[in-house]
């Protein structure tokens, strides 16, 4: 183990510094002994000690503390806590390392990642590469036939499905209003109600005074739907009894906080830890999406998109308990009407 550690330049440097310190100490001691008889010896020794203390202090401030900071930032990146820390290294070890990091940052260009994330969002929406225009036309046709035949329920369901797909497929790069997102959720809910009937209920909860203002804030398109879908599929569907989904809206002067809660099956501690880990870890899964994993990555993709767009201070946190339910808290910056695209 020690041999392996000695491979690193940091360990070698530490050893060399230790050896040098011992040597300087010995030299000082030797000097002290040799000049002990001289009347000016005390001043020389005091001066030497002061100089040594100053050098040690400078070494601590200029080398040790920045070294610790760089180590921490790199470790946070390795542990999956932060990708930003990797971009924001203040004290690289050498110019070559700085260049290498810059090169790597260029390769992991944020805008590229955002594009990849958008594509993944489209991919999630399209699911099976459905031709959108063909789909709209067919659904409209079915709706027309249903109205003619007096099948109002089928007509309503078809309309909801058609509207849902239209919203999902078009202009994924847009920032939409919260109202648009909630309208899409409403359509999605109508469709799911045909499947689950009275078993699911959806509530949108906010301070009535703030509702109008809240509905105008902007957010990335298709942020809420994958989370509501997860709540239904992984929460309510697995529950025998009726299930409720509550979307709680709150805003502060800088943040929009949306909490999607369900009282479904919840998830166990291991799965929750795994999911939170995946949420914390900078994920590039959307660059090369694995079609087999589709259901599992929706929420992670939404989180990645939010963090790429707005920074690591925003994103998703999940709380869950078996048989109690799951809460997904989405934190977004407070964006007003001017922001339309990203």
């Amino acid at each position: 183990m020690k041999k392996l550690q000695f491979r690193f330049l940091s360990h070698r440097s530490a050893r060399i510094v230790t050896l040098l310190s011992i040597l300087v100490g010995l030299l000082l001691a030797a000097l002290a002994i040799s000049i002990a008889e001289q009347p000016w010896a005390v001043w020389v020794l005091l001066g030497g000690a002061a100089l040594l203390t100053a050098i040690l202090y400078l070494g601590h401030r200029w080398v040790y503390l920045p070294y610790r900071e760089t180590e921490k930032m790199l470790n946070l990146f390795v542990d999956g806590y932060s990708m930003q820390s990797f971009h924001e290294l203040r004290h690289p070890y050498s110019p070559a390392m700085e260049s290498a990091l810059e090169k790597l940052n260029g390769m992991l260009d944020t805008s590229e990642l955002i594009n990849a994330s958008k594509k993944q969002a489209q991919y999630l929406a399209l699911q099976n590469q459905i031709n959108p225009h063909f789909l709209y036309n067919t659904l409209e046709g079915i709706r027309g036939e249903a109205i003619t035949a007096g099948l109002d329920n089928v007509a309503k369901m078809t309309e909801a499905l058609s509207t849902f797909f239209r919203y999902t497929i078009s202009n994924v790069e847009q920032l939409v209003t919260l109202e648009d997102e909630l309208r899409n959720i409403d359509n999605y809910y109508i469709i799911q109600r045909y499947r689950f009937g009275e078993r699911i209920n959806l509530f949108v909860d906010c301070d009535e005074e703030d509702r109008e203002e809240l509905y105008q804030y902007r957010m990335p398109k298709l942020t809420l739907q994958p989370i509501v879908e997860n709540a239904i599929i992984h929460g309510i569907e697995r529950k025998i009894d009726r299930g409720n989904i509550r979307i709680k809206l709150e805003a502060t002067s800088k943040r929009l906080i949306i909490t999607v809660s369900d009282d479904g099956a919840g998830m166990d501690e291991t799965r929750l830890r795994e999911l939170n880990r995946e949420l914390e870890t900078p994920s590039f899964d959307f660059v090369k999406p694995d079609r087999e994993k589709r259901g599992g990555i929706a929420i992670i993709n939404v989180n990645s998109r939010i963090r790429l767009l707005f920074g690591e201070e925003y994103g998703i946190s999940i709380y869950s308990t078996v048989d109690v339910g799951t809460d997904v808290e989405i934190t977004l910056p407070l964006l007003t009407g001017n922001a339309k695209e990203y």
Binding site: S82, E213, T252, R255, V324, E329
Partner: protein, 498 residues
Amino acid sequence: MQKEIIRLDRVTQRDDGVTLLDGVNLHIFEGEIMGLVCIDSEGQDALVNLLCENIPIHYGYIYFEEQLVNSYKSSSMELNHVSVIEERSRLVESLTVADNIFVLRRGFKKYVIDPRVLKSQLALFTEDLGIHIDANESVDELSSFERCVTELLKAVVTGVKLVVLRDISNFIGPADLLRFQELIRRYTAQGMSFLYICNHHEETFRICDRVSLMECGKIRKLLRREEFRDDIISHFTLDFSRPTNLPQDSDQHSGVLKFRHVFTEHIHDMSFTIEQGECVVFLDVNNLVLTDLFQLMTGDLLPQSGKILLNATDWCENREKLRQHLSFIKENPLQSMLFREMSYIDNLCFLLDRKSPLLWMNRRFKQSIFKEYEPLVGKDIYAYDITGLSPASLYNLVYYRVHLYHPEIVFCIQPFAGADMYLRHHLVHLINELRARKITVVILAVSMSDSLVVADRLLMLEQGHLLREYRSGEFHLLRGQSAPVDTAIPWLPTGEES
């Protein structure tokens, strides 16, 4: 739109490789009372420290009034405008109330202090609140309630935005707790925010707007008001229902301990009888007489008048002889009742030498104790160093020491104070073990906590008087009564349970 006072965003705090806080999210709005129920005690201290001071964190972001004040990248080490009210006073004991509130604060620059001005300034606050506190009274003379009010007023005067209240029901009696909660509500309406930390969810449900449940340094669930329901919380808590196999009241009502018209400085004409083998809880609504009661039984205090009879013998005249019939478990016994330099077995046998003076010289004694208690306390009984043992194991040591000593009566002072849920559950088990050995258990408490789970009788004390007595079959009455005292005691078993 709400104003956010503090926000902890995915905060992870580590100390010596131990994760104290694990991705904690917590945000508190202006004018909000946020509850924090700690299922276990892990991470509580670290969280409070982080709220007060911007010390380095492993990961995460902390915002105070929407400004980033601490993050894993840089920590300013500055103090936030946060005040903490807890059992340990943060006031200067030897100074007066007015000095503590007005003089000892940042930005106070006067060189000449006129006590009359301070008094009139304090009166502006106290009259508004309908509370009387003497501005010139020394802080060490104050009751727990007055001290908390003083700390709260100090926070108000210094412009603190967030007040952290830690386990206040452990040291304020139920009646005063209710008054203090009224004050909290009053200041909440004026925009002050509170973080109400305690171990009982029932207590937070009464006063808080939202409640977070924390376990192992992690937020397990955030409950909003509409989710303050037993069916949800039951997934996070242990079963504290009353066991059915408790020892029944004995038929002999001779009374092992009797108080007859006892008076002390704080106790006024107190008379009661405690029977052999029963468990009685004394709930001191004002936190006024428990110290007197305790000192009367330790022999440090003698009644001004009246009689105390232990086994029909006068306690005051024969207390040296009768002392060995009593045992005491103090508040926070892990700090005050264990000898860290002694082994587990020596600690366990500590009281026993009163009954068997040759105990320490006789190996066979110890061997038989090992044999008898190993099935109860496990392999820890062989530990030479008790400092590394878990709190549950150390509580075992304290209670089984009494179990082994087998006194007639054991007095437990606030046994559940400060204990997290798992420990409280364990303490219920340990008290029942004492009861199973026919030891009379007397619990002295200012907070009901889980005492009624083990109690046969509750004696409620107010202003030094015995106010009322409740038998176990009547405990459910406490829940429905309209008296202010009882509404502060929400964690009572329902009628069906009792």
